[in-house]
């Protein structure tokens, strides 16, 4: 079999229990080489557990996982040669300088001394850390630490890189820098599995999004597919006089539409539709409101955001009597700001 037909990740029926808690529940996932998979889910959904199983840190209770064809339990050392892990807690050693950190990992990967030095210099250059190279990493900013952490996972360019919440806690500018770095990595041909609680991050970076909740994969597809699947398109109407919203709703319901009142800065009511009848719905809404003399300040078609997709997916999920895990605060913040 040619090398590029072996999946980068192959997960078959993986279950992981910690005592009574089921962290992963019969997960199946196949990721072909190349591209970025975004693993999305609230806190405690099982994202990190799945990454830890795949990175050979945690043996699954049941099921099998393979990295480029190598079973993570049966041949972990071979699997490890094909992967790198950048975890949530930066593995940077604060008492060593940036350069020393990189050389140490070079030594541990059995690079020759000359090669370890050269590689450290290259990575410092590439991650814009040359000026800080000989300072202790404890003096670095959050963004610099993440970059150094990522750099030290790339001493030997991995075929598959796991990034576990690479931008959690970073400010927007630093997050953008990390995204650039990640895009370069993918352009070089590395397959990436990225966990995140930031929907925008998944939308920006991933060409495939896997949504996980309560240890199960509940959706899998491109960002567009997920958006289509969850509600598709709505017509949004902002009235000149918000007090007439209930009148307008009644009117549109009489016209055979399915309006719902909303309270948001950009809309007072929404009418669900789909891409084929979208324009027709706009016409019908506009016609009905005009004939009733209800003035409108804004009216338009809007596609579902990933936030809405996510909210919908995690709401409809049956919990099987298990205690539902709290949705993370970051997600709460994201879903509250539901207008793009």
């Amino acid at each position: 079999m040619p090398a590029d037909e072996i999946p980068a990740i192959e997960v078959e029926g993986v279950t992981k229990r910690f005592g009574e808690t089921v962290a992963l529940d019969d997960v199946d996932l196949v990721v072909p080489p190349g591209g970025v998979v975004g693993l999305l889910g609230p806190n405690g959904a099982g994202k990190t557990t799945l990454v830890r199983v795949l990175a050979t840190l945690l043996a699954p209770t049941a099921g099998r996982a393979r990295i480029f064809g190598h079973d993570v339990v049966e041949e972990p050392q071979v699997a490890r040669r094909n992967l790198s892990l950048t975890g949530q807690y930066a593995a940077v050693d604060g008492l060593l300088t940036g350069r020393e950190n990189l050389r140490m990992f070079g030594d541990l990967l059995q690079l020759t001394t000359a090669s370890a030095r050269r590689r450290a210099d290259e990575l410092l250059e590439r991650f814009d850390l040359v000026d800080a190279a000989d300072r202790r990493a404890s003096t670095y900013s959050g963004g610099m630490r993440r970059r150094l952490d990522l750099a030290s996972s790339l001493i030997l360019p991995p075929r598959l890189a796991f990034l576990d919440e690479p931008t959690t806690g970073l400010d927007p500018r630093t997050r953008n820098q990390m995204w650039e770095v990640i895009r370069e990595l993918v352009a070089d041909g590395t397959t990436l599995l990225l966990t995140t609680q930031y929907l925008e991050e998944a939308d920006q970076l991933a060409n495939r999004i896997v949504v996980i909740d309560h240890g199960r994969i509940i959706a899998d597809g491109t960002g567009d597919e997920l958006k289509d699947r969850a509600g598709g398109i709505t017509v949004e109407v902002l009235l000149a006089d918000p007090d007439r919203a209930s009148d307008a709703c009644r009117l549109l319901a009489d016209a055979g539409l399915d309006p719902r009142g909303v309270t948001a800065p950009t809309a007072d009511l929404e009418v669900p539709t789909d891409s084929t009848s979208g324009l027709g719905t706009v016409q019908r809404v506009a016609g009905a409101l005009e004939s009733a003399g209800i003035a409108v300040t804004d009216l338009g078609l809007r596609r579902a955001t990933l936030d809405e997709v996510f909210l919908q997916l995690t709401d409809v999920l049956p919990t099987d009597g298990e205690e539902p895990e709290p949705v993370g605060t970051d997600l709460d913040a994201a879903t509250n700001g539901r207008r793009r």
């Binding site: 830890r52 990175a55 020759t112």
Partner: protein
Amino acid sequence: MTTTTDPTTPSDDRRADPPGPPEIDQHLRGGLATALTDGWTLGKRNLKHFTRLPRLLIFSTIQPVMFVLLFGYIFDGAVRGALPNGFPSYLAFVMPGIFVQSTVFRMTQTAVGLADDLDKGVVDRFRSMPMSRSGVLIGRTIADLVRSMAVVVLMAIVGVLVGFRFTSFVGAIGSMAIVGVLGYALSWVFVWLALHVPGAESAQSAAFVFAFPLSFVSSVFVPATSISIGWLAFIARNSPITAAADAARGLAVTGPILAPTLKTLAWSVALLVVFIPWSTHRFRHVQ
């Protein structure tokens, strides 16, 4: 040689097809050589930690030096009469004992350092790399051995300055070496402890619960024969700490050498044989 054990894969598949390959030369070793070189790499890292935290360096050396001075001056008058033959002062008796006691206490830092690394992300990174599993633990124990030997040498110098006399240079080296051997074996016990007690602070407390009675119920401060409670005397007589203290005492000052030295070596080998595989196994499966 590579460390590859996979029978279906050619041994050169380490990063067999790296994307956009930069020029990287590797010098692949295998098995024990990997464990030792990885241990050395991480040992250097851990020693850098020690020298880069001046507070840690200062306080961890002040304490044993203080012990030498306190025991040498405070207890001397009270216990001199009760000393076995051949010891001119309590300092002469207690000095080799304090070598052992200080080393046992110093080795509790193995538990603290390892627990600390486990709390941070760095051990996850190590464990996800194709490096030696035991290298992380070897690096930790080697660095702690070097540290505690440095402290023992410093204590010896201070001891000599205040009147302690080794009988010979060989005796001086030998007494420190035998302490180092037992200390290294004990540091693997503390590795085991750190892998079973999560968190640096609890690991430290647990290590002290273990180290305190171990070093006091022994011949470190008093002759084991002077302990009057039967079961305590039994423990003291058979403790590896007593063996090492007696051996160090014999080598540095006076007393039997061969029997306690062999006993110390036997204890050390036994501890290493049990705790290296047990700890390494546990480290492999730590979650």
